[in-house]
């Protein structure tokens, strides 16, 4: 029981130790907040007639 408690790795450390989860977050967040949001705003600008 005591060993199990010693071996428990904190959630944050598990996140930081997972390079592919970090890769997913590092691509998704700027893609959504910067690229997609920005492109959607530009695409919604009315075309001049």
């Amino acid at each position: 029981m005591a060993d199990q408690q010693e071996e428990r790795i904190p959630v944050m450390q598990q996140v930081l130790d997972n390079p592919f989860l970090l890769l997913f977050l590092g691509i998704t967040i700027p893609t959504v907040l910067y690229v997609l949001w920005g492109v959607m705003e530009i695409a919604n600008i009315p075309v001049a007639r």
Binding site: M12, Q13, V15, L16, D17, P19, F20, L22, L23, L25, G26, I27, I29, P30, T31, L33, Y34, V35, W37, G38, V39, E41, I42, I45
Partner: protein, 561 residues
């Protein structure tokens, strides 16, 4: 390809010889790009110096394009790929994943860099670093950049593959080292950067070939900056990793808190790329919500991360020095630091210049209202010369002094110049950044061949201070170019003619992992770091004052005071 390992007798580091060779080739290709970019820098500076005005307009824009691309893309990314290889296979003490693919990626990058340079020097691709549409370059300008990006992307995946190899073969225990974690951050940002580049450069290539009729200029700018600015955020992550590495190499310093430093890198992974939006703060069509969320609310998390690194690196050095007995007063640890060791002095000048000049000005520019003061002025190059040249290039140059004997196995020639170089180059670049920002605050335009717009309907009479600062840019820029050129000569001469050093033991298997014995009674409590705290308070005071002064300036400029 067979894997052998070399144990460096000077550093104790274990190199996979496949990775080691690739590191050397990437570093050399980077320095060659720096040479081309540096010669072009001299052309840019001597033209923007009003009293000299060396080049004609068409040559100036060609030279400016080559300077931007060779420095901001080729030099730094070649060197960063070497850093990724070092931080994975060497620091994790494992074999490199897919060395053959490593050579494919290197040659893609090299061919891409040559192709783009050929396109630029043929004279019909003077579109500058940003290559904004509807300005059109020749097709091989874009194709070269795409090939270079694909090569760099492959190296990023090799880095991730090497992490998997190290974990599977249990060459490390627990979490990866902090420097490798910094390189992982750089790798993640690089993948986002390169993917964004592909999204915009592939259609632009097709447009230059005539397959696509037009590309929307605002759409181009928005997506392009995810490449253009984020590529500079790869630098930030990489040079911060180098700061930690040099602190460990020179002082044996351990991070003050692994958790805090890793959390700061985590903030980089999540938010650093969003700073790209500060190039679009004056563009119509993009809403304030998008601008403010990207450049302020979330970007400030990344700024916080930089401030954490800026405090924990000198803090770790202070702790290491105090443990060695340098305890007198607030700053004996700093006074007794090895200022004659170019790896350390470059790193420390890089850290201070990046924080005080590049960091503070970057936050100021990122505020939507304050951005109007300096948008598209020479303040912007002043800011990014503080981040990219003082922050990144100086750190890379300092690390190179360590790499000459360790990676290239040669004795460094002209050690006297090595002691002097960081001050000569670093302090002249401090001045360049400062006077550029000064001239930009007065409104001098960036990029323009002739600041006076002589003979045009927009001719403007500048105050004498603007001409003075552009003249000082020329003087200090020339000193920086010459000292940087001498650094290249020193490194090239050392690699060609320096005394060959002992290779070290060669092995067919890596050295098995040995864990340090636990300290009896637990680790000693690390010493406090009051000197670093004072440095941090000086930084914060400067930050607040500069921010306030710019708001005051904005209000007086518009007569709203």
């Amino acid at each position: 390809m067979t894997t052998t390992y070399r144990i460096c007798p000077r550093s104790g580091l274990q190199f996979d010889t496949n990775a080691e060779k690739l590191m050397r080739w990437h570093a050399v290709a980077g320095v060659l790009s720096l040479l081309v970019g540096g010669i072009m820098a001299l052309g840019v500076i001597l033209t923007r110096w009003p009293a000299v005005k060396l080049l004609e307009a068409d040559v100036f824009y060609m030279v400016l394009t080559a300077h931007g691309i060779d420095m901001l893309i080729f030099w730094i990314i070649f060197f960063e790929m070497a850093v990724l290889l070092f931080a994975s296979s060497t620091l994790l003490r494992c074999r490199m994943a897919t060395p053959k693919l490593g050579w494919v990626s290197f040659w893609l990058m090299a061919i891409g860099a040559i192709m783009t340079n050929v396109a630029i020097f043929q004279g019909e691709s003077s579109v500058m670093f940003t290559s904004y549409v509807p300005m059109q370059a020749k097709w091989h300008f874009y194709l070269g950049l795409i090939l270079f990006a694909v090569g760099a992307l492959l190296t990023c995946f090799i880095f991730l593959g090497t992490l998997v190899v190290a974990k599977a073969e249990k060459t490390y225990e627990g979490s990866i080292p902090l420097v490798t974690f910094g390189a992982l951050t750089a790798c993640i940002i690089a993948i986002f950067t390169i993917a964004s580049g592909a999204v915009i450069l592939i259609p632009t290539l097709l447009w230059s070939l005539g397959y696509i009729r037009e590309i929307d200029s605002l759409m181009y700018r928005t997506v392009w900056w995810a490449l253009g600015h984020s590529s500079q955020q790869i630098n930030v992550s990489a040079h911060v990793a180098i700061w930690y590495a040099i602190a460990a190499i020179v002082f044996g310093a351990k991070p003050m808190s692994e958790k805090v430093s890793r959390s700061a890198y985590f903030l980089y992974i999540l938010f650093l790329q969003l700073a790209s939006a500060h190039h679009l703060l004056s563009d119509p069509g993009l809403g304030s919500e998008w601008k403010v969320v990207n450049t302020s609310y979330f970007m400030y998390f990344a700024v916080l991360a930089s401030m954490i690194h800026g405090m924990t690196v000198p803090g770790a050095i202070e702790q290491a020095q105090r443990l060695k007995g340098y305890n007198k007063g607030l700053f004996e640890w700093l006074r007794k630091a090895p200022w004659g060791n170019p790896a350390f002095s470059s790193m420390f000048l890089s850290l201070i210049g990046f924080g005080f000049l590049g960091g503070i000005s970057g936050v100021m520019m990122g505020a939507e209202q304050l951005n109007m003061l300096i948008h598209n002025t020479i303040y912007v190059p002043g800011h990014f010369h503080a981040t990219v040249v003082i922050g990144t290039t100086l750190a890379f140059m300092g690390l190179t002094y360590f790499l000459v004997p360790v990676l290239f196995k040669r004795e460094l020639l002209f050690p006297g110049y090595a002691k002097m170089f960081p001050y000569l180059f670093g302090l002249s670049m401090y001045m360049v950044a400062l006077v550029m920002m000064g001239a930009g605050t007065l409104g001098v335009a960036r990029r323009h061949w002739d600041m006076a717009f002589a003979g045009s309907p927009m001719a403007y009479e500048w105050p004498g201070a603007a001409y003075l600062m552009m003249g000082l840019t020329g003087i200090f820029g020339t000193i920086a170019c010459v000292s940087g050129g001498l650094w290249i000569l020193q490194i090239v001469f050392s690699l060609l003619f320096g005394k060959k050093l002992e290779e070290g033991e060669m092995r067919s298997t890596p050295i098995p992992l040995t864990l340090p014995a636990p300290t009896p009674g637990g680790a000693a409590h690390p010493p406090a770091t009051p000197g670093t705290m004072v440095l941090a308070l000086i930084f914060l005071t400067s930050f607040i004052l500069y921010y306030f002064v710019n708001w005051k300036y904005l209000s007086s400029l518009w007569s709203m005071a």
